[in-house]
């Protein structure tokens, strides 16, 4: 079996371990804990009074513009990492290219700030 698959199997089995831990511990706890549900107990918590309206109420997601910017900058981070590893070999050429790239990004961020899209109203 190649090292490549060993990496994936290791990561996969550790991710599974997290879920298995939850299942096992909850399974053990199920043997010990009581279970006598009542309508009052099953009610949504709202500081002791009966809940008003629905829990899934309409709410204003203020940061959706932040979300769009996040996607742009996160993709850019993916480009920066390979450059960061190979910088020694790329030398001055790679450095100048990346400085231009970072400069454009910084300008974009400043444009967004000046435009007021990052203001939280």
């Amino acid at each position: 079996m190649s090292l490549y698959f060993q990496d994936y199997i290791t990561v996969g089995s550790f991710a599974a371990l997290g879920v298995v831990l939850v299942i096992v511990m909850l399974g053990v706890a199920a043997l010990l804990r009581p279970s006598n549900p009542s309508p009052a107990k099953q009610k949504t918590y709202e500081c002791g009074v009966d809940p008003v309206g629905e829990g899934w109420h309409q709410s204003y997601v203020r940061y959706y513009v932040f979300g769009l910017l996040f996607v742009i900058f996160d993709v850019e981070a993916v480009f920066i990492f390979p450059w960061a590893i190979k910088l020694e070999d790329l030398g001055v050429f790679g450095l100048v290219e990346m400085l231009i790239f970072i400069w454009i990004l910084l300008m974009g961020l400043i444009f967004a700030i000046r435009k007021g899209v990052l203001r939280w109203e």
Binding site: S13, F14, L17, L26, Q42, T44, G55, D74
Partner: protein
């Protein structure tokens, strides 16, 4: 014996058992440290009776107590999502331990993309938090979940960009490779200095963003107990409730370990053989960083939501971009 250890599957099973033990133990130790340090910072004595002396068994007793608590799922909740949200949080926590190097050989798996893996896996827990917040069908939980998502969006970027400086210095993304690069990194004279000496800005940005990712004060808006009644965990009871805290404290341990590895030299300390002293050195560094996090908790007031976003977008991201540019220039010119 060595035949047995060279078998991939047997070794994997041993590692799984070891990490399955390490995750709760690290959470217990960090949690107890938080109880005692918080108490002393407020001139209290904290837990004292459990276990005989110093209340060392307090959290173990708490864990046993949670075992006997009823598992209540609210009537209005989205039951399946509600059930699986803690599992997703713990998945992210456990999987993060894969790339923590305790010594040159004592690591679960030295992935080539170690740093990338850390950044990717650590953000999965936010999906669990968002699931918990949404499925509870509770107004407080929904707000807590949305705040957690907004916080991740803002602070994921400084976290990612702060690490680039280290990757430029080391020229690799493998965690062991980064520590080895620091072991042979000399600025003045002959003693190897960790990257925090040249990447101090990166270290500050990384620790700030890590605090925000862990939702710790001053960035604890998703669980703000005075306004949101613990936010996304409001409706959780018993062991499912405990899993969120297990995840939080174990993540505190693993994030400190990653910060120590990237910036403080990891298992390497001048004059000590990493093959023997590696785990001790790393754990000492982890507890130093964990102590800082607990100290911050009793020092800073909570930020407001708009301050939180402004701080990330107008300060941390430009600073970390500038840090990348400066590090790149120094790397190529010198």
């Amino acid at each position: 014996m060595s035949d047995l250890l060279s078998n991939f599957w047997i070794l994997l099973a041993i590692k799984l058992v070891a990490i399955a033990a390490l995750v709760p133990v690290s959470a217990l130790v960090i949690g107890t440290a938080e109880l005692k340090i918080s108490a002393h910072m407020q001139s209290r004595i904290g837990p004292y009776f459990a276990g005989g002396r110093f209340g060392w068994a307090q959290l173990i007793a708490d864990g046993i107590k949670f075992f006997q608590k009823e598992d209540i799922i609210p009537e209005d909740a989205d039951r399946q999502v509600f059930r699986w949200a803690p599992a997703l949080v713990l998945l992210s926590t456990v999987a993060l331990f894969v790339v923590i190097p305790f010594s040159p050989t004592l690591i679960v798996r030295d992935l080539d993309l170690g740093v990338f893996y850390v950044l990717a896996i650590s953000s999965i827990s936010t999906i669990g938090v968002l699931m918990a917040g949404w499925s509870s069908a509770n107004k407080y939980s929904l707000m807590g979940g949305l705040r957690a998502a907004g916080q991740l969006i803002a602070y994921e970027l400084p976290l990612v960009l702060a690490v680039v400086g280290v990757v430029i210095q080391a020229g690799t993304m493998s965690m062991v490779g980064i520590v080895e690069a620091q072991a042979s990194f000399e600025v003045f004279g002959t003693i190897a200095v960790p990257y925090v000496a040249v990447q101090f800005v990166g270290f500050l940005v990384f620790m700030t963003a890590a605090l925000a990712e862990l939702s710790r004060i001053p960035f604890d808006l998703p669980v703000a107990e005075s306004e949101l009644v613990m936010g996304f965990v409001t409706e959780y009871t018993g062991f499912r409730f405990l899993f969120f805290f297990l995840g939080e404290y174990a993540s505190m341990f693993s994030m400190s370990a990653i910060a120590a590895t990237l910036f403080l030299g990891g298992y390497h300390f001048p004059g000590l053989d990493p093959a023997i002293w590696g785990p001790v050195v790393l754990v000492a560094k982890i507890f130093f960083l964990a102590f800082l996090m607990i100290w911050f908790r009793w020092t800073f007031p909570r930020l407001r939501e708009d301050q939180l976003q402004t701080f990330a977008w107008k300060w941390l991201i430009p600073v970390s971009l500038a840090n990348i540019a400066v590090t790149g220039v120094f790397k190529v010119v010198f």
